[in-house]
């Protein structure tokens, strides 16, 4: 017995039981999605709902790709997310490093202004941004979907926090030897920042992949839609085709889930740099 009047084995059983229950609740919808996506059309519209496909089939997936153009949406999502990631990582890293390590006039003022702007929700900018991109002819183009994600305050902040730990001597020595700032950046700073670059890339990719409202507004042309937008409109037209919609969800969710599982250490670390230590 411990001081709470509960035998140790019971406390252990309660904690682990609750952990298992919570894990079941978090994973059950995802596992069921997978199970239903492998069922025959119409099989899931039954009571009680089947938990497992009677004879698993990839029919829903082949339907999605052959008739619903899922391949196109998948490609659009990959294209938009990859473009956002590459550009955002480069621009945010340059700026984050500058705010951390390069003294320039007005640096603190600009940085404070950026932090203050963090509280403004992106949706406030959406109406004028739409009109602006319309003027520039970027509505219904990949560029229109990519443009607002090309740089971000959070990304700059993340890099700045991390870059501050680079020792000044590491940058001063090549400066004395006459190396240019760009060379120092690419040869010394970038390698030193590698761990946070992985984190930043993952944040950017996940953010772009999962984004919904902006692609919904800017990509009304069906051939350009990203997976979430396409899935939302498909699910409005095919309310009854549960099996096919679950397959669509699998295609949308699995790439980011795998990416997270592969790189979760970086992601969780970045989450903490961006919040607690802020």
């Amino acid at each position: 017995m411990n001081r709470d009047g509960m035998p140790a084995w019971l406390a252990r059983a309660i904690v682990n039981g609750l952990l298992i229950a919570l894990a079941a609740l978090s994973l059950a919808p995802l596992l069921w999605m997978l199970a239903v996506s492998l069922m025959q059309p119409g099989e899931a519209a039954a009571f009680p709902p089947p938990l497992w496909p009677k004879s698993p089939t990839l029919h829903n997936y082949s339907e999605l790709f052959s008739r619903m153009g899922m391949g196109r949406y998948l490609l659009n999502s990959f294209l938009v997310s990859t473009l956002v990631t590459v550009i955002a990582v480069l621009l945010n890293t340059l700026a984050g490093y500058a705010f951390a390590k390069l003294a320039f006039a007005g640096r603190e003022t600009v940085f404070r202004l950026l932090l203050a702007a963090l509280v403004i929700p992106a949706q406030v900018s959406m109406m004028p941004l739409f009109l602006m991109l319309k003027q520039m002819g970027l509505i219904n183009t990949y560029a229109g979907a990519v443009v607002p994600g090309m740089a971000g305050i959070f990304g700059i902040f993340l890099v700045r926090q991390y870059a501050r730990s680079i020792p000044d001597e590491l940058l001063e020595a090549p400066r004395i030897d006459g190396a240019g700032e760009l060379r120092i950046f690419f040869q010394i700073v970038l390698p030193a920042l590698r761990p946070i670059l992985v984190t930043l890339a993952m944040f950017s990719f996940l953010g772009a992949w999962n984004d919904f409202m902006w692609p919904l507004i800017v990509l009304s042309d069906e051939h350009l839609q990203t997976l979430p937008v396409a899935l939302a409109s498909l699910s409005r037209e095919h309310v009854q085709d549960n099996e096919m919609m679950m397959a669509g969800s699998v295609v949308t969710v699995v790439p980011v889930l795998l990416l997270f599982l592969a790189l979760q250490r970086h992601y969780l670390q970045g989450l903490l740099v961006g919040s607690v230590k802020g």
Binding site: R3, D4, V15, L19, A23, S26, L27, L30, W32, V36, A44, A45, P49, L94, A95, A98, L102, A103, A105, R107, V110, A117, V119, I120, P121, A122, V124, M127, F130, L131, V147, P148, M150, A151, R175, G180, L182, N210, F212, M213, P228, V229, L231, A232, S235, R236, N242, M245, M246, S249, V256, F260, L261, Q264, L268, L271, L272, S275, V276, G278
Partner: protein, 292 residues
């Protein structure tokens, strides 16, 4: 190139993007919200007129705006505390010395966070299906009649809250976990020697030390929950009886369905003001209670 010049050169590309595609539009939105920009102005800009605060006044007279505001506040007031409580509970479980397989559980709890909201909303719409959903099947095993979760105005918002808590609790959990791990073990040791129970330890050690983390998590979660949009868009389309029309859902429909962009900008600004006021109030309250 001198380091000071280099500083501006390095920061300029990102600052330009943020300035042109975010800063400028935010300022323009304020101007836009004072005009009657609609589908006619979209065709010919000469049709644009300055209307002052008419958009704002019309919104305050529009019952649907109040409905949307009420729905959003419902989502925030019930959803945020519930979400934080589940996050904290999960973090306490993961932090307990008694638990096993923690890396697995941590990943399992976090998995919903990285999923695409539209895709998992489609799953939940099916889980909540009146006739074929797993949730009603589970309730029927307990002898409870089927509930029309997304079709009954009383249940639609609670269903969306349930979904949002499931989707988001892992995020705050990670932050809480880091906060809990930073609490020195000897504090608990000392309390145990003095005979303090687990619940007293939680109230007098854990919660006060976690105060600043709790404040930050609350502000982040509030800001996120005020921006409710994709969930009602996919699960209920604002219905039934407009019970899940959120402020941003209203903004989207006003702006990009009816092309009343001036009106939509006013909606966005009112939401921004509301968010700022709420988070400022929370910070003020926290400061008065001595949490920094």
């Amino acid at each position: 190139m001198k380091p000071s010049t280099a500083g501006w050169m390095f920061a300029a590309p990102a600052l330009t993007v943020i300035g042109v595609f975010f800063g400028l539009p935010v300022l323009a939105a304020l101007a836009l919200s004072l005009t009657d920009f609609d589908i006619y102005s979209l065709a010919h800009i000469e049709n644009l007129r300055f209307v002052g605060f008419d958009n704002y006044l019309n919104l305050l007279r529009n019952p649907l705006f109040w409905k949307a505001l009420g729905n959003t506040l419902y989502f925030v007031v019930v959803g945020v505390p519930l979400s934080i409580a589940v996050s904290l509970g999960a973090a306490l479980l993961l932090n307990s010395k008694l638990g096993a397989f923690k890396p697995f559980f941590r990943t399992a709890f976090f998995a919903p966070v990285v999923t695409t909201v539209v895709a998992v909303a489609v799953i939940w719409r099916y889980l909540l299906h009146t006739r074929y959903g797993l949730i009603n099947w589970g309730l029927s095993a307990l002898g409870i009649d089927p509930v029309d979760w997304l079709g009954d105005p009383h249940w639609a918002m609670p269903s969306i809250i349930l979904f949002a808590v499931w989707k988001n609790f892992g995020y705050n959990m990670i932050i809480f976990l880091a906060g809990l791990q930073a609490i020195p073990e000897d504090l608990y040791e000392a309390a145990r020697i003095d005979g303090a129970s687990a619940s007293r330890q939680f109230r007098h050690i854990t919660l006060p030390i976690l105060g600043p983390v709790l404040l930050m998590v609350s502000i982040l979660t509030l800001a996120g929950y005020f921006q409710l949009f994709a969930e009602p868009y996919v699960m209920t389309q604002g219905g039934p009886l407009q019970s899940t029309v959120s402020v941003l859902y209203l903004m989207y429909e006003e702006g990009f369905k009816w092309w009343n962009l001036g009106n939509a900008s006013a909606v966005a600004f009112l939401l921004f003001v509301l968010m700022t006021a709420t988070t400022s109030a929370l910070m003020w309250l926290a400061r008065r209670k001595g949490i920094e």
